[in-house]
Protein backbone atom coordinates (compact mmCIF):
# COMPACT_ATOMS: atom_id res chain seq x y z
CA UNK A 1 0.00 0.00 0.00
CA UNK A 2 2.96 2.34 -0.01
CA UNK A 3 5.71 3.59 -2.15
CA UNK A 4 9.24 3.38 -0.94
CA UNK A 5 11.43 6.26 -1.83
CA UNK A 6 15.01 5.26 -2.23
CA UNK A 7 16.65 8.02 -4.10
CA UNK A 8 16.72 11.77 -4.21
CA UNK A 9 19.12 14.14 -5.78
CA UNK A 10 18.25 17.55 -4.42
CA UNK A 11 18.45 19.60 -1.24
CA UNK A 12 14.82 20.43 -1.53
CA UNK A 13 12.85 17.28 -1.73
CA UNK A 14 9.61 17.76 -3.54
CA UNK A 15 6.37 15.88 -3.63
CA UNK A 16 6.28 14.77 -7.19
CA UNK A 17 2.57 14.09 -7.20
CA UNK A 18 1.45 17.48 -5.89
CA UNK A 19 1.83 20.87 -7.49
CA UNK A 20 0.46 24.35 -6.94
CA UNK A 21 -0.72 26.61 -9.76
CA UNK A 22 -1.48 30.30 -9.32
CA UNK A 23 -4.05 32.31 -11.17
CA UNK A 24 -2.74 35.84 -10.80
CA UNK A 25 -5.33 38.49 -11.58
CA UNK A 26 -4.49 42.05 -12.41
CA UNK A 27 -6.68 44.92 -13.50
CA UNK A 28 -6.37 48.01 -15.65
CA UNK A 29 -8.34 50.01 -18.19
CA UNK A 30 -8.37 47.06 -20.52
CA UNK A 31 -10.12 44.98 -17.89
CA UNK A 32 -9.24 41.92 -15.89
CA UNK A 33 -5.98 40.24 -16.79
CA UNK A 34 -4.15 37.06 -15.91
CA UNK A 35 -0.43 36.60 -15.61
CA UNK A 36 0.72 33.59 -17.59
CA UNK A 37 3.98 31.80 -17.90
CA UNK A 38 5.65 30.65 -21.06
CA UNK A 39 6.87 27.10 -20.68
CA UNK A 40 10.29 26.17 -21.83
CA UNK A 41 9.87 23.43 -24.41
CA UNK A 42 12.90 21.63 -23.07
CA UNK A 43 11.30 21.35 -19.69
CA UNK A 44 8.29 19.90 -21.38
CA UNK A 45 10.33 17.42 -23.31
CA UNK A 46 11.80 16.18 -20.07
CA UNK A 47 8.35 15.29 -18.79
CA UNK A 48 8.10 12.69 -21.52
CA UNK A 49 9.45 9.25 -20.78
CA UNK A 50 13.01 9.06 -22.10
CA UNK A 51 12.22 6.47 -24.71
CA UNK A 52 8.73 7.46 -25.69
CA UNK A 53 7.57 5.51 -28.70
CA UNK A 54 6.29 7.45 -31.67
CA UNK A 55 2.87 6.03 -30.87
CA UNK A 56 3.07 7.48 -27.38
CA UNK A 57 4.04 10.82 -28.79
CA UNK A 58 1.20 10.74 -31.26
CA UNK A 59 -1.20 10.07 -28.41
CA UNK A 60 0.30 12.87 -26.41
CA UNK A 61 -0.28 15.35 -29.19
CA UNK A 62 -3.75 14.07 -29.73
CA UNK A 63 -4.75 14.57 -26.11
CA UNK A 64 -2.72 17.71 -25.58
CA UNK A 65 -2.60 19.48 -28.92
CA UNK A 66 -1.24 22.57 -27.19
CA UNK A 67 2.18 20.94 -27.23
CA UNK A 68 2.27 21.28 -31.00
CA UNK A 69 2.46 25.04 -30.56
CA UNK A 70 5.81 26.77 -30.60
CA UNK A 71 5.04 28.65 -27.44
CA UNK A 72 3.17 26.94 -24.66
CA UNK A 73 1.46 28.99 -21.99
CA UNK A 74 0.58 27.86 -18.50
CA UNK A 75 -0.21 29.14 -15.05
CA UNK A 76 2.77 29.91 -12.88
CA UNK A 77 3.28 26.94 -10.60
CA UNK A 78 5.55 24.30 -9.26
CA UNK A 79 5.86 21.11 -7.28
CA UNK A 80 5.37 21.33 -3.56
CA UNK A 81 8.49 20.96 -1.43
CA UNK A 82 8.16 18.24 1.13
CA UNK A 83 9.13 20.64 3.89
CA UNK A 84 6.85 23.55 3.15
CA UNK A 85 3.25 24.40 3.97
CA UNK A 86 1.00 24.35 0.96
CA UNK A 87 -0.15 27.93 1.57
CA UNK A 88 3.40 29.07 2.18
CA UNK A 89 4.49 27.57 -1.06
CA UNK A 90 1.74 29.32 -2.94
CA UNK A 91 2.90 32.60 -1.39
CA UNK A 92 6.42 31.86 -2.43
CA UNK A 93 5.41 31.15 -5.99
CA UNK A 94 3.57 34.42 -6.07
CA UNK A 95 6.63 36.18 -4.79
CA UNK A 96 8.77 34.54 -7.43
CA UNK A 97 6.40 35.61 -10.15
CA UNK A 98 5.69 39.14 -9.01
CA UNK A 99 8.14 40.14 -6.30
CA UNK A 100 5.15 40.90 -4.09
CA UNK A 101 4.45 39.82 -0.55
CA UNK A 102 1.28 40.23 1.44
CA UNK A 103 -0.92 39.75 -1.53
CA UNK A 104 -4.50 38.58 -1.43
CA UNK A 105 -4.23 34.86 -2.11
CA UNK A 106 -6.85 32.15 -1.81
CA UNK A 107 -7.09 28.53 -2.59
CA UNK A 108 -9.50 27.50 -5.32
CA UNK A 109 -9.50 23.74 -4.81
CA UNK A 110 -7.53 20.63 -5.67
CA UNK A 111 -7.70 19.48 -9.28
CA UNK A 112 -7.15 15.78 -9.49
CA UNK A 113 -8.46 14.27 -12.66
CA UNK A 114 -6.47 11.39 -13.88
CA UNK A 115 -5.34 12.60 -17.26
CA UNK A 116 -4.72 16.23 -16.52
CA UNK A 117 -0.97 15.89 -17.04
CA UNK A 118 0.45 13.48 -19.57
CA UNK A 119 2.45 10.50 -18.36
CA UNK A 120 2.54 11.39 -14.71
CA UNK A 121 -0.06 11.68 -12.03
CA UNK A 122 -0.01 15.15 -10.62
CA UNK A 123 -2.71 16.59 -8.44
CA UNK A 124 -2.55 20.35 -8.46
CA UNK A 125 -3.90 22.79 -5.94
CA UNK A 126 -5.11 25.97 -7.58
CA UNK A 127 -4.81 29.38 -5.93
CA UNK A 128 -5.87 32.77 -7.13
CA UNK A 129 -4.57 36.15 -6.17
CA UNK A 130 -5.44 39.76 -6.81
CA UNK A 131 -2.67 42.23 -7.35
CA UNK A 132 -2.43 45.98 -7.30
CA UNK A 133 -1.29 47.54 -10.58
CA UNK A 134 0.86 50.07 -8.69
CA UNK A 135 3.26 47.24 -8.07
CA UNK A 136 3.07 45.28 -11.28
CA UNK A 137 6.53 46.23 -12.35
CA UNK A 138 8.38 46.27 -9.07
CA UNK A 139 10.09 43.05 -9.80
CA UNK A 140 9.36 41.41 -13.05
CA UNK A 141 11.79 39.05 -11.52
CA UNK A 142 14.82 37.12 -12.61
CA UNK A 143 12.72 34.02 -12.83
CA UNK A 144 9.95 35.71 -14.60
CA UNK A 145 11.21 36.81 -17.96
CA UNK A 146 8.72 34.43 -19.44
CA UNK A 147 5.71 36.01 -17.76
CA UNK A 148 3.12 38.01 -19.62
CA UNK A 149 -0.28 39.53 -18.92
CA UNK A 150 -3.24 38.36 -20.95
CA UNK A 151 -6.65 39.84 -21.15
CA UNK A 152 -9.20 37.39 -19.77
CA UNK A 153 -11.11 37.45 -23.02
CA UNK A 154 -8.04 36.80 -25.10
CA UNK A 155 -6.37 33.92 -23.36
CA UNK A 156 -4.03 31.80 -25.41
CA UNK A 157 -4.54 28.07 -25.49
CA UNK A 158 -3.24 26.79 -22.18
CA UNK A 159 -1.66 23.51 -21.29
CA UNK A 160 -3.16 20.83 -19.07
CA UNK A 161 -6.35 21.94 -17.35
CA UNK A 162 -5.15 25.46 -16.72
CA UNK A 163 -7.97 27.04 -18.66
CA UNK A 164 -10.42 25.29 -16.34
CA UNK A 165 -8.49 26.42 -13.30
CA UNK A 166 -8.75 30.02 -14.48
CA UNK A 167 -12.48 29.64 -15.05
CA UNK A 168 -12.96 28.29 -11.56
CA UNK A 169 -10.79 31.05 -10.15
CA UNK A 170 -13.15 33.52 -11.77
CA UNK A 171 -16.17 31.80 -10.28
CA UNK A 172 -14.59 31.91 -6.82
CA UNK A 173 -13.64 35.50 -7.33
CA UNK A 174 -17.20 36.34 -8.27
CA UNK A 175 -18.55 34.76 -5.15
CA UNK A 176 -15.93 36.38 -3.01
CA UNK A 177 -16.35 39.83 -4.42
CA UNK A 178 -20.07 39.97 -3.77
CA UNK A 179 -19.79 39.45 -0.06
CA UNK A 180 -16.30 40.52 0.85
CA UNK A 181 -14.49 43.75 0.13
CA UNK A 182 -11.72 42.22 -1.95
CA UNK A 183 -12.14 43.99 -5.26
CA UNK A 184 -9.97 46.73 -3.81
CA UNK A 185 -6.89 44.60 -4.01
CA UNK A 186 -7.00 45.02 -7.75
CA UNK A 187 -6.78 48.80 -7.57
CA UNK A 188 -3.98 51.24 -6.96
CA UNK A 189 -3.73 52.65 -3.46
CA UNK A 190 -5.76 55.68 -4.44
CA UNK A 191 -8.58 55.20 -6.85
CA UNK A 192 -11.72 56.70 -8.31
CA UNK A 193 -15.18 55.43 -7.54
CA UNK A 194 -15.59 54.77 -11.24
CA UNK A 195 -12.63 52.43 -11.11
CA UNK A 196 -14.00 50.35 -8.30
CA UNK A 197 -17.32 50.13 -10.08
CA UNK A 198 -15.53 49.00 -13.17
CA UNK A 199 -13.75 46.28 -11.18
CA UNK A 200 -17.11 44.96 -10.10
CA UNK A 201 -18.58 45.25 -13.55
CA UNK A 202 -15.73 43.35 -15.12
CA UNK A 203 -15.64 40.62 -12.51
CA UNK A 204 -19.39 40.13 -12.39
CA UNK A 205 -19.74 40.79 -16.08
CA UNK A 206 -22.67 43.16 -15.84
CA UNK A 207 -23.33 46.86 -16.02
CA UNK A 208 -24.31 48.55 -12.80
CA UNK A 209 -26.11 51.74 -11.98
CA UNK A 210 -23.64 54.38 -10.79
CA UNK A 211 -25.89 56.05 -8.27
CA UNK A 212 -27.05 52.84 -6.68
CA UNK A 213 -23.54 51.45 -6.63
CA UNK A 214 -22.20 54.50 -4.84
CA UNK A 215 -24.98 54.41 -2.29
CA UNK A 216 -23.99 50.88 -1.37
CA UNK A 217 -20.34 51.76 -1.14
CA UNK A 218 -21.12 54.73 1.05
CA UNK A 219 -23.16 52.62 3.41
CA UNK A 220 -20.32 50.30 4.17
CA UNK A 221 -18.06 53.15 5.35
CA UNK A 222 -15.09 51.49 3.78
CA UNK A 223 -13.84 54.40 1.73
CA UNK A 224 -11.99 57.48 2.84
CA UNK A 225 -11.56 60.60 0.73
CA UNK A 226 -7.82 60.95 0.23
CA UNK A 227 -8.16 64.68 -0.40
CA UNK A 228 -6.48 64.24 -3.76
CA UNK A 229 -7.96 64.46 -7.21
CA UNK A 230 -7.20 63.12 -10.61
CA UNK A 231 -4.68 65.31 -12.41
CA UNK A 232 -4.78 66.70 -15.93
CA UNK A 233 -7.83 65.00 -17.25
CA UNK A 234 -9.93 66.58 -19.91
CA UNK A 235 -13.04 66.56 -17.77
CA UNK A 236 -14.01 67.19 -14.20
CA UNK A 237 -11.36 65.54 -12.05
CA UNK A 238 -12.56 62.68 -9.89
CA UNK A 239 -11.81 62.49 -6.19
CA UNK A 240 -9.40 59.76 -5.21
CA UNK A 241 -10.32 57.46 -2.39
CA UNK A 242 -8.40 55.05 -0.21
CA UNK A 243 -9.87 52.31 1.78
CA UNK A 244 -9.96 52.26 5.50
CA UNK A 245 -7.92 49.27 6.58
CA UNK A 246 -9.58 49.04 9.96
CA UNK A 247 -13.04 48.95 8.50
CA UNK A 248 -11.75 46.52 5.89
CA UNK A 249 -10.44 44.15 8.56
CA UNK A 250 -13.72 44.35 10.40
CA UNK A 251 -15.78 43.66 7.31
CA UNK A 252 -13.51 40.82 6.34
CA UNK A 253 -13.87 39.12 9.68
CA UNK A 254 -17.48 39.86 10.44
CA UNK A 255 -18.62 38.04 7.37
CA UNK A 256 -20.37 41.00 5.77
CA UNK A 257 -23.83 42.35 5.81
CA UNK A 258 -23.51 44.24 2.60
CA UNK A 259 -23.73 42.71 -0.77
CA UNK A 260 -22.61 44.20 -4.00
CA UNK A 261 -24.37 42.98 -7.01
Amino acid sequence: MEYYICNKRQFTMILNSVSVDCVIFGFDKSGLRVLLNQIDKDVLRRTLPAQASSEQIRQLYEKHPVFLNDIVWSLFGGHVPEAQDLDEFAKELLFQATGLNDVFLQQIRAFGSLQRVPYTRVITVGYYSLINPDYYHLKQSNLAKSLQWFNLNELPVLCFDHEQIIQEALIKLRQEVMYHPVGFHLLPDKFRLTEIQSVYEVILNKKMDTRNFRKKLAKMNLLVDSGEKQQKVAHRAAKLYQFDIQVYQKLKEEGLNFRIE
Copy 2:
Protein backbone atom coordinates in the same frame (compact mmCIF):
# COMPACT_ATOMS: atom_id res chain seq x y z
CA MET B 1 14.08 17.66 -8.37
CA GLU B 2 12.30 14.33 -8.40
CA TYR B 3 11.81 11.27 -6.40
CA TYR B 4 12.54 7.95 -7.92
CA ILE B 5 10.19 5.24 -7.01
CA CYS B 6 11.85 1.89 -6.99
CA ASN B 7 9.60 -0.36 -5.06
CA LYS B 8 5.97 -1.13 -4.69
CA ARG B 9 4.22 -4.01 -3.14
CA GLN B 10 0.64 -3.67 -4.25
CA PHE B 11 -1.54 -3.91 -7.31
CA THR B 12 -2.92 -0.51 -6.55
CA MET B 13 -0.17 1.99 -6.41
CA ILE B 14 -1.04 4.91 -4.24
CA LEU B 15 0.20 8.42 -3.97
CA ASN B 16 1.66 8.44 -0.53
CA SER B 17 1.61 12.18 -0.17
CA VAL B 18 -2.05 12.72 -1.05
CA SER B 19 -5.11 11.52 0.79
CA VAL B 20 -8.82 12.21 0.74
CA ASP B 21 -10.94 12.65 3.87
CA CYS B 22 -14.73 12.69 3.83
CA VAL B 23 -16.98 14.62 6.13
CA ILE B 24 -20.21 12.68 5.91
CA PHE B 25 -23.21 14.59 7.21
CA GLY B 26 -26.45 12.97 8.24
CA PHE B 27 -29.57 14.40 9.80
CA ASP B 28 -32.31 13.27 12.14
CA LYS B 29 -34.39 14.49 15.07
CA SER B 30 -31.25 14.91 17.13
CA GLY B 31 -29.83 17.29 14.54
CA LEU B 32 -26.86 17.26 12.23
CA ARG B 33 -24.48 14.37 12.61
CA VAL B 34 -21.12 13.31 11.24
CA LEU B 35 -19.99 9.81 10.47
CA LEU B 36 -16.60 9.12 12.05
CA ASN B 37 -14.21 6.26 11.83
CA GLN B 38 -12.42 4.58 14.67
CA ILE B 39 -8.75 4.14 13.85
CA ASP B 40 -7.05 0.88 14.53
CA LYS B 41 -4.22 1.61 16.92
CA ASP B 42 -2.00 -0.85 15.10
CA VAL B 43 -2.38 1.08 11.90
CA LEU B 44 -1.36 4.16 13.79
CA ARG B 45 1.64 2.51 15.27
CA ARG B 46 2.80 1.62 11.80
CA THR B 47 2.89 5.28 10.84
CA LEU B 48 5.66 5.80 13.34
CA PRO B 49 9.21 5.24 12.16
CA ALA B 50 10.21 1.70 13.03
CA GLN B 51 12.86 2.76 15.50
CA ALA B 52 11.33 5.89 16.94
CA SER B 53 13.34 7.15 19.89
CA SER B 54 11.54 7.75 23.12
CA GLU B 55 12.15 11.44 22.57
CA GLN B 56 10.42 11.24 19.21
CA ILE B 57 7.51 9.48 20.78
CA ARG B 58 7.31 12.06 23.55
CA GLN B 59 7.18 14.77 20.92
CA LEU B 60 4.51 12.93 19.00
CA TYR B 61 2.28 12.73 22.04
CA GLU B 62 2.91 16.34 22.83
CA LYS B 63 1.82 17.51 19.41
CA HIS B 64 -0.90 14.94 18.92
CA PRO B 65 -2.23 14.14 22.38
CA VAL B 66 -5.17 12.38 20.81
CA PHE B 67 -2.94 9.37 20.31
CA LEU B 68 -2.84 8.87 24.08
CA ASN B 69 -6.53 7.96 23.96
CA ASP B 70 -7.58 4.34 23.77
CA ILE B 71 -9.90 5.02 20.90
CA VAL B 72 -8.87 7.42 18.20
CA TRP B 73 -11.50 8.92 15.92
CA SER B 74 -10.95 10.32 12.47
CA LEU B 75 -12.73 11.14 9.26
CA PHE B 76 -13.15 8.30 6.83
CA GLY B 77 -10.41 8.61 4.27
CA GLY B 78 -7.54 7.04 2.45
CA HIS B 79 -4.60 7.57 0.18
CA VAL B 80 -5.32 8.33 -3.44
CA PRO B 81 -4.59 5.54 -5.92
CA GLU B 82 -2.29 6.64 -8.67
CA ALA B 83 -4.73 5.49 -11.29
CA GLN B 84 -7.93 7.07 -10.04
CA ASP B 85 -9.52 10.48 -10.37
CA LEU B 86 -9.58 12.41 -7.14
CA ASP B 87 -13.34 12.90 -7.30
CA GLU B 88 -13.86 9.26 -8.22
CA PHE B 89 -11.83 8.17 -5.27
CA ALA B 90 -13.86 10.36 -2.94
CA LYS B 91 -17.02 8.73 -4.31
CA GLU B 92 -15.52 5.33 -3.76
CA LEU B 93 -14.63 6.12 -0.17
CA LEU B 94 -18.16 7.27 0.41
CA PHE B 95 -19.43 4.05 -1.07
CA GLN B 96 -17.15 2.04 1.17
CA ALA B 97 -18.35 3.88 4.22
CA THR B 98 -22.06 3.98 3.48
CA GLY B 99 -22.86 1.66 0.62
CA LEU B 100 -24.40 4.63 -1.16
CA ASN B 101 -23.87 5.87 -4.68
CA ASP B 102 -25.11 9.07 -6.26
CA VAL B 103 -24.70 11.03 -3.12
CA PHE B 104 -24.24 14.77 -2.91
CA LEU B 105 -20.48 15.17 -2.59
CA GLN B 106 -18.38 18.30 -2.81
CA GLN B 107 -14.79 19.15 -2.34
CA ILE B 108 -13.94 21.44 0.54
CA ARG B 109 -10.33 22.23 -0.30
CA ALA B 110 -6.82 20.84 0.04
CA PHE B 111 -5.34 20.92 3.52
CA GLY B 112 -1.60 21.08 3.33
CA SER B 113 -0.01 22.39 6.47
CA LEU B 114 3.32 20.91 7.20
CA GLN B 115 2.70 19.28 10.52
CA ARG B 116 -0.79 18.02 10.05
CA VAL B 117 0.30 14.37 10.13
CA PRO B 118 3.20 13.25 12.28
CA TYR B 119 6.35 12.03 10.57
CA THR B 120 5.09 12.08 7.03
CA ARG B 121 4.03 14.78 4.67
CA VAL B 122 0.49 14.18 3.59
CA ILE B 123 -1.67 16.71 1.86
CA THR B 124 -5.30 15.80 2.19
CA VAL B 125 -8.22 16.86 0.09
CA GLY B 126 -11.38 17.25 2.13
CA TYR B 127 -14.83 16.44 0.78
CA TYR B 128 -18.22 16.68 2.39
CA SER B 129 -21.38 14.84 1.58
CA LEU B 130 -24.99 14.91 2.64
CA ILE B 131 -26.82 11.67 3.06
CA ASN B 132 -30.42 10.70 3.28
CA PRO B 133 -31.42 8.98 6.52
CA ASP B 134 -33.68 6.55 4.66
CA TYR B 135 -30.55 4.82 3.50
CA TYR B 136 -28.29 5.08 6.53
CA HIS B 137 -28.45 1.42 7.30
CA LEU B 138 -28.49 -0.10 3.84
CA LYS B 139 -24.94 -1.18 4.11
CA GLN B 140 -23.11 -0.40 7.26
CA SER B 141 -20.50 -2.16 5.28
CA ASN B 142 -17.94 -4.83 5.86
CA LEU B 143 -15.26 -2.18 6.03
CA ALA B 144 -17.27 0.03 8.22
CA LYS B 145 -17.68 -1.77 11.51
CA SER B 146 -15.70 1.00 13.05
CA LEU B 147 -18.01 3.79 11.86
CA GLN B 148 -20.25 5.70 14.19
CA TRP B 149 -22.47 8.77 14.01
CA PHE B 150 -21.66 11.69 16.25
CA ASN B 151 -23.75 14.68 16.97
CA LEU B 152 -21.99 17.78 15.67
CA ASN B 153 -22.08 19.31 19.13
CA GLU B 154 -20.60 16.28 20.78
CA LEU B 155 -17.66 15.39 18.61
CA PRO B 156 -14.90 13.35 20.19
CA VAL B 157 -11.36 14.59 19.98
CA LEU B 158 -10.20 13.90 16.46
CA CYS B 159 -6.80 13.12 15.09
CA PHE B 160 -4.72 15.33 12.82
CA ASP B 161 -6.60 18.39 11.59
CA HIS B 162 -9.86 16.54 11.14
CA GLU B 163 -11.74 18.79 13.54
CA GLN B 164 -10.76 21.75 11.37
CA ILE B 165 -11.83 19.93 8.24
CA ILE B 166 -15.26 19.34 9.77
CA GLN B 167 -15.54 22.99 10.74
CA GLU B 168 -14.70 24.08 7.22
CA ALA B 169 -17.13 21.54 5.81
CA LEU B 170 -19.82 23.17 7.93
CA ILE B 171 -18.89 26.61 6.66
CA LYS B 172 -19.06 25.40 3.06
CA LEU B 173 -22.34 23.68 3.76
CA ARG B 174 -23.76 26.88 5.22
CA GLN B 175 -22.77 28.85 2.18
CA GLU B 176 -24.08 26.20 -0.14
CA VAL B 177 -27.38 25.75 1.58
CA MET B 178 -28.29 29.41 1.42
CA TYR B 179 -28.05 29.65 -2.34
CA HIS B 180 -28.54 26.15 -3.59
CA PRO B 181 -31.26 23.66 -2.84
CA VAL B 182 -29.06 21.04 -1.25
CA GLY B 183 -30.56 20.76 2.22
CA PHE B 184 -32.98 18.25 0.72
CA HIS B 185 -30.29 15.64 0.39
CA LEU B 186 -30.35 15.27 4.14
CA LEU B 187 -34.02 14.31 4.19
CA PRO B 188 -35.96 11.18 3.43
CA ASP B 189 -37.61 11.04 0.02
CA LYS B 190 -40.88 12.29 1.45
CA PHE B 191 -40.71 14.85 4.17
CA ARG B 192 -42.65 17.44 6.13
CA LEU B 193 -42.13 21.15 5.70
CA THR B 194 -41.22 21.28 9.36
CA GLU B 195 -38.37 18.89 8.70
CA ILE B 196 -36.84 20.94 5.94
CA GLN B 197 -37.09 24.01 8.10
CA SER B 198 -35.35 22.18 10.85
CA VAL B 199 -32.54 21.18 8.45
CA TYR B 200 -31.99 24.85 7.71
CA GLU B 201 -32.22 25.84 11.33
CA VAL B 202 -29.65 23.29 12.39
CA ILE B 203 -27.23 24.02 9.58
CA LEU B 204 -27.46 27.78 9.91
CA ASN B 205 -27.81 27.56 13.66
CA LYS B 206 -30.73 29.94 13.96
CA LYS B 207 -34.45 29.84 14.52
CA MET B 208 -36.60 30.82 11.58
CA ASP B 209 -40.13 32.03 11.22
CA THR B 210 -42.36 29.24 9.92
CA ARG B 211 -44.65 31.40 7.83
CA ASN B 212 -41.86 33.33 6.17
CA PHE B 213 -39.87 30.18 5.58
CA ARG B 214 -42.77 28.49 3.86
CA LYS B 215 -43.44 31.51 1.71
CA LYS B 216 -39.89 31.33 0.39
CA LEU B 217 -40.09 27.63 -0.24
CA ALA B 218 -43.34 28.07 -2.10
CA LYS B 219 -41.87 30.75 -4.32
CA MET B 220 -39.15 28.51 -5.61
CA ASN B 221 -41.59 25.88 -6.84
CA LEU B 222 -39.29 23.14 -5.80
CA LEU B 223 -41.71 21.10 -3.74
CA VAL B 224 -44.48 18.81 -4.84
CA ASP B 225 -47.24 17.54 -2.60
CA SER B 226 -46.85 13.77 -2.54
CA GLY B 227 -50.50 13.28 -1.61
CA GLU B 228 -49.43 11.38 1.48
CA LYS B 229 -49.61 12.39 5.11
CA GLN B 230 -47.86 11.54 8.29
CA GLN B 231 -49.36 8.44 9.92
CA LYS B 232 -50.41 7.86 13.49
CA VAL B 233 -49.23 11.02 15.07
CA ALA B 234 -51.00 12.47 18.08
CA HIS B 235 -51.71 15.72 16.34
CA ARG B 236 -52.78 16.98 12.98
CA ALA B 237 -50.87 14.94 10.40
CA ALA B 238 -48.52 16.91 8.19
CA LYS B 239 -48.52 16.63 4.43
CA LEU B 240 -45.49 14.94 2.96
CA TYR B 241 -43.67 16.61 0.12
CA GLN B 242 -41.16 15.46 -2.43
CA PHE B 243 -38.92 17.65 -4.41
CA ASP B 244 -39.25 18.16 -8.10
CA ILE B 245 -36.05 16.87 -9.65
CA GLN B 246 -36.48 18.91 -12.79
CA VAL B 247 -36.90 22.16 -10.93
CA TYR B 248 -34.03 21.09 -8.70
CA GLN B 249 -31.71 20.58 -11.65
CA LYS B 250 -32.70 23.93 -13.06
CA LEU B 251 -32.12 25.74 -9.80
CA LYS B 252 -28.82 23.97 -9.32
CA GLU B 253 -27.54 25.01 -12.70
CA GLU B 254 -28.99 28.48 -12.96
CA GLY B 255 -27.14 29.60 -9.92
CA LEU B 256 -30.19 30.52 -7.91
CA ASN B 257 -32.23 33.61 -7.42
CA PHE B 258 -33.69 32.61 -4.14
CA ARG B 259 -31.91 32.75 -0.88
CA ILE B 260 -32.83 31.04 2.30
CA GLU B 261 -31.62 32.72 5.37
